[in-house]
Symmetry: C2
Subunit: 167 residues, 2 copies
DNA sequence: ACTAGATACTTTGACGTCCAAGTATCTAGA
DNA sequence: TCTAGATACTTGGACGTCAAAGTATCTAGT
């Protein structure tokens, strides 16, 4: 019997009469585990002043035309809750990578703006992540692309608007 | 241009000269997003008394020979930090699904034991998750298996001991 | 001109993640 | 017999997730 906890769980599923659900269960658990490993690795590389969540916000701002975006747009683009954006931007502001300013023409809106220290940190973080994570995820590029296409179908199935719907 | 935030990010990556890293970045971000969607869906189905983390512990105990396991074994099997096990078992105990008892022969060890209410809840939760998530993840079974195999290679690459190492 | 409803953001709280530190117990070796 | 080092678990804290609620601002319609 395998020592892999996920393979073990699949065996249990089958033994208990849920063979039909076992492949789906194994895929879901595997996705959860891979995400956990990736995030541990990425957070290790970005420590102590960045996490993946904060890094994503910095990159979004770095890519934007004026280096600033309303908080609601950040939440929408990263597909996270407004409260999560508030929390992460709080820390980026604390560390001097971002500033916040109210939009004069619409008092409801807050712009998060990347600072030059933030741009510099974003660049350094990207260099590390490209080199240590993204350049080699353990699959040949063609396979990585194929897995992404398949996972886009899972995203579409779960309600995400993504490119899988255009195929 | 695509409205998919992840596809957009890949375009930015390529535009900034990081084309080599772009497929890896897209896969990593897609895995993160799929995991987020899956967990939102699963937690919605298990609310209000279970989360995926707690459900996994219940299933581990339900599958075990005596319906009880030391906390350290739970952490090891689920590959989470001991403090996370403490937190989740606290809540399972609060809700009457699990009890805790110190091992007489080894005072360091605490056994978590599933109660009959816990078994019943685990069964009901499995029925719901099998029907609503695992039976149809948006991919044909053969494709789901193939993606799992590929993600196992990513796990192995990141240091997990799993079946990918035996192939 | 006014207001109900919508939008934007923050705050509070629960949750589970990990890290670091603390407490309790066990054990191999001297 | 004793103790240093190891093991097991809990606690405190930071973090980011979401839900719910609160506060502030905007706007379409009357």
């Amino acid at each position: 019997m395998s020592a892999d906890p996920i393979a073990l769980a699949e065996s249990h599923w089958t033994d208990h009469g849920w063979a039909h659900s076992a492949p789906g269960m194994r895929l879901v658990t595997t996705i959860t585990r891979v995400q956990q490993l990736l995030h541990q690795r990425i957070d290790d590389l970005l420590r102590p002043d960045l996490t993946f969540a904060r890094y994503e916000i910095l990159m979004l701002l770095a890519f934007s035309r004026r280096g600033a975006l309303p908080m609601s747009v950040i939440g929408s683009r990263l597909q996270v809750h407004a409260a999560s954006v508030t929390s992460a931007v709080d820390r980026l502001e604390r560390d001097g990578y971002v500033t916040r300013e109210r939009v004069e023409s619409d008092g409801r809106r807050v712009l998060a703006r990347i600072t030059s220290a933030g741009r510099k940190r974003a660049k350094a973080a990207t260099d590390v992540l490209n080199r240590e994570v993204f350049d080699d995820v353990g699959l040949p590029t063609a396979t990585a692309r194929k897995v992404t296409v398949d996972l886009d179908r899972v995203r579409a199935h779960l309600g995400d608007a993504c490119d899988a719907e255009r195929e």
